[in-house]
């Protein structure tokens, strides 16, 4: 019974910690997007910022990892409350989603750096 409680507590604080991290990342990302969209969205435009830029790479890699923590926990709660999934099913969904985000996200980062 208490292992369930510990899992719930950990999910709660990991989502809040990742949220605080993401707040900073998202503010930076929004600024970049608003500046970037000025010159239109082309590969050349994006690459001029990202290619060979290690700082960018690290920033967005960390961003992806933070998303991989934050997004699945939220989706799990929604699936339990609005889709009626069991705790076990929502946990499985969360893990799958985390994997998808990490794989696709880091691939995207790798692609642009």
């Amino acid at each position: 019974m208490s292992s369930q409680g510990i899992a719930q507590a950990k999910a709660w604080y990991w989502q809040r910690i990742s949220a605080m991290v993401l707040a900073l990342f998202v503010i930076v990302h929004l600024v970049i997007m608003i500046i970037a969209i000025r010159d239109g969205l082309t590969a050349a435009e994006i690459f001029s910022r990202t290619k060979g830029n290690l700082a960018f790479g690290i920033f967005y890699a960390l961003f992806v990892l933070a998303c991989a923590v934050h997004v699945p926990i939220g989706i799990a709660k929604i699936s339990e409350e609005w889709l009626g999934l069991s705790a076990a099913a929502s946990s499985l969904l969360a893990k799958a989603l985390a994997l998808i985000i990490v794989v696709l996200g880091l691939t995207a980062v790798w692609g642009v750096i």
Binding site: A19, I34, V71, G74, L97, I101, A108, G111, V112
Partner: protein, 121 residues
């Protein structure tokens, strides 16, 4: 004959709507994220491949979606800060000031993005 009435949906508080916006924006962003990554990862195949994928962004519907996502992201961000303050900060009730702030900041950010998107150099 009908089922016993639930609590009326009419008089929902502002904090309830803040929750709905936060949850729905999070859900939409979550569904968008894999698409976002798939699109950008075309870069692995080279500049031409990425340009090909980015051609989608010329569609007016996609431009509208981009703007919408920026607004939703900002709403989720500011609403999220409000929740962190509610759960960890000194108790100041439902912090409705932050709800107002989220609307204004999202509107402002959305406007800036739209302006930059449509008014090209």
């Amino acid at each position: 004959m009908r089922a016993a009435p639930r609590r009326s949906g009419r008089a929902q508080s502002i904090a309830y709507w803040a929750f709905v916006v936060h949850r729905v924006s999070g859900l939409v962003l979550a569904l968008f994220l894999p698409i976002h990554f798939l699109l950008l990862s075309q870069a692995i195949r080279g500049e031409a491949a990425l340009d090909n994928a980015l051609a989608l962004t010329e569609l007016p519907l996609v431009k509208f979606a981009e703007w919408g996502l920026v607004v939703l992201l900002t709403l989720h961000l500011v609403g999220g800060i409000r929740l962190i303050l509610i759960e960890f900060g000194p108790w100041r009730g439902q912090r409705s000031g932050w709800i107002t702030a989220s609307v204004f900041v999202a509107a402002g950010t959305g406007f800036l993005f739209l302006y930059n998107m449509l008014v090209t150099v």
